[in-house]
């Protein structure tokens, strides 16, 4: 573990009264490596290390702790704070229906997450409507209909037509049929695909979502920053759903995304089944990133 590695580095410096620059730099070398291995963006790691260094150097080593425990403690606190101290809930609209739009790169889990959200909201007593705005991927509409059926949520679709119109009419349909929340599934898209980013923007402008959630794959590497910034610029985002957290990827991409966009994590996906959606815990995530 990181603590073991740092304490290994500190083995020769036991029992000092105050953390010196040398002590801290020794420990931070291990922290830097751990963060890079966890997929935290290179530039974010640099900034993070500098911030921790500032907080750690000259700190009194508490009676009850060893220097390595001190540094790890500072690192964990800093990470946890960056990841978002409190639990973030969905923004609920004062005038129903609440509109939630899912967006992101290809294959990150949007359609599955749409089903999970519908199931979760149903369990909370809501009446969600799923809207099929992916008109490109083979059988994407069928996939959404299938997950909709599995959680007992209605799916609004108009086949392979205009996604902006489907979204608009989906919201109207929700209003007319007493659905208090609408979940819009959109096609996976590259942030460098101008036409598709324009489409996403058009959908968002047409329906004015209360929540625009980026589905981010927990195994995303250094490129997370580019993609998240671009989506945030275009839409903008109100939250992130970190998917495939049941894997063993450390998930450092979320730290980069949070640092760059300031967008909070609303939920995490923890499996392929439609009940596999959970609250995000910044403290657990901090521990996972550090490894």
């Amino acid at each position: 573990s990181l603590q073991e590695k740092i304490s290994g580095a500190f083995a020769k410096l036991r029992g000092k009264g105050r953390l010196t620059e040398a002590d801290v730099d020794l420990a931070l070398r291990e922290v830097r490596l751990a963060l890079l291995e966890a997929d935290v963006n290179f530039k974010i790691v640099k900034e993070f290390i500098a911030r921790v260094r500032e907080k750690a150097v000259g700190r009194d080593v508490l009676e009850s702790l060893s220097p390595d425990q001190m540094v790890v403690g500072i690192v964990r606190d800093e990470l946890q704070e960056l990841l978002g101290g409190q639990t973030h809930r969905l923004n609920w609209s004062s005038r129903p229906p609440t509109v939630i739009m899912l967006a992101g790169l290809q294959g990150t889990g949007k359609t599955t997450t749409a089903g999970k959200l519908a199931g979760l909201l149903k369990r909370e007593g809501k009446k969600p409507l799923l809207v099929a705005c992916d008109v490109y991927r083979p059988q994407a509409i069928l996939q959404l209909q299938t997950v909709g059926k599995q959680v007992g949520a209605t799916v609004y679709e108009e086949g392979k037509t205009n996604p902006v119109h489907i979204a608009q009419r989906g919201v109207s349909y929700a209003r007319e049929h007493g659905h208090d929340v609408v979940i819009i599934d959109t096609a996976g898209r590259l942030h460098v695909d101008e036409a598709m980013m324009t489409e996403a923007k058009s959908i968002a402008e047409a329906i004015r979502p209360d929540e625009t959630l980026l589905a981010l794959d927990a195994m995303t590497g250094q490129d997370a920053v580019q993609a998240a910034s671009a989506f945030n610029q275009a839409l903008p985002l109100t939250g992130v759903i970190l998917t495939k957290m049941d894997g063993d990827a450390r998930g450092g991409a979320i730290l980069s995304v949070r640092s760059i966009t300031g967008v909070p994590v609303k939920y995490i996906g923890v499996g392929e089944k439609l009940d596999a959606i959970e609250q995000f815990h910044p403290d657990r995530m901090a521990g996972r990133i550090l490894g």
Binding site: L33, D39, L105, P138, A140, L142, D217, M219, A227
Partner: protein, 278 residues
């Protein structure tokens, strides 16, 4: 000199940073820069420009200068197995290869080995329709090994020469799912008398360091013969494949460069490296 700025530590760090930003592992990046330092000491890279060129050649060397072609069975049915974690592009890659194989005069058959995910068989069936090739699928929840078995039988009896086997995405830390995959490989081996001619691990170019863990784990379910790096039309460089090839010896064979049927191409180490360094 004539080449450019004299090689210094700052430039070496810049090169290392470039590798890490491309998702090459810290270990691989450090090792490559260490090789470069040795080369510089031997006088093989005197300035920034020649150092960069040296590093590019070293990367190409690690990847394997010669592109490894896809393997066909000389005497019987050819079987290509597609495996990998969820959402990386297995099904789409099969769809693209089905098109390519038909263009090359082959008679492929698709095996819908993902019997779990919503609309998985239907998604592959649409690709089969587009390429005008037969597909063997099963009921939702059927044993995937049974579907693969049926597909191999169907290919033999219908005179098809290549079977493309789609499997469900699975996270490699789920032992029951990895066991299921190992069973599929065994069924193939039993039915055609040898392991799949290609066992292809599909890796998403946006994947970070987890890609190496994926490779190690999936290597335990099938004898990996190649990697397919998908979504290379994005901005992610997919540098983790450099680490995977270096650590496992498995070469990248194909590059996914889009969502359309013709958007797959043979991996070219030199071209890929050029792009990585641009």
């Amino acid at each position: 000199g004539l080449g450019g700025r004299k090689l210094d530590e700052e430039f070496l760090e810049e090169l290392e940073e470039g590798l890490i930003l491309s998702d090459v592992s810290v270990q691989t990046s450090t090792s490559l820069i260490s090789d470069l330092r040795d080369a510089a000491r031997r006088g093989e890279a005197r300035d920034d420009e020649s150092a960069r060129d040296w590093l590019k050649r070293r990367v190409v060397e690690v990847l394997g200068v010669e592109t490894e072609p896809m393997r066909f069975n000389p005497s019987g049915l050819t079987v290509w197995l597609f495996i990998g974690v969820n959402g990386v592009g297995k099904t789409t890659s099969i769809g693209k290869l089905a098109h390519r194989l038909v263009e090359e005069g082959h008679k492929p058959l698709l095996a819908a080995g993902d019997t779990f995910r919503a609309a998985a068989s239907e998604q592959l069936a649409e690709w089969a329709r587009r390429a005008d090739v037969p597909i063997v699928a099963g009921q939702q929840g059927a044993d995937p090994a049974a579907v693969v078995f049926d597909a191999l039988q169907a290919a033999k009896s219908r005179g098809r020469d290549v079977v493309l086997v789609d499997t469900a995405g699975r996270l490699h830390n789920k032992s029951n799912l990895m066991n299921e995959l190992a069973k599929i490989t065994r069924i193939i081996e039993r039915e055609v008398g040898h392991p799949p001619d290609e066992s292809l691990l599909v890796i998403d170019a946006t994947t970070g360091q987890n890609g190496l863990h994926q490779a190690h784990a999936f290597a335990g379910t099938a004898p990996l013969t190649g990697l397919i790096l998908t979504k290379w039309d994005g901005t992610a460089k997919g540098g983790i494949v450099l680490t995977v090839t270096k650590e496992t010896g498995v070469p990248v064979k194909l590059l996914g460069v889009g969502e359309k049927a013709d958007e797959i191409c043979d991996f070219d180490a030199t071209e890929w490296t050029e792009t990585m360094f641009s």
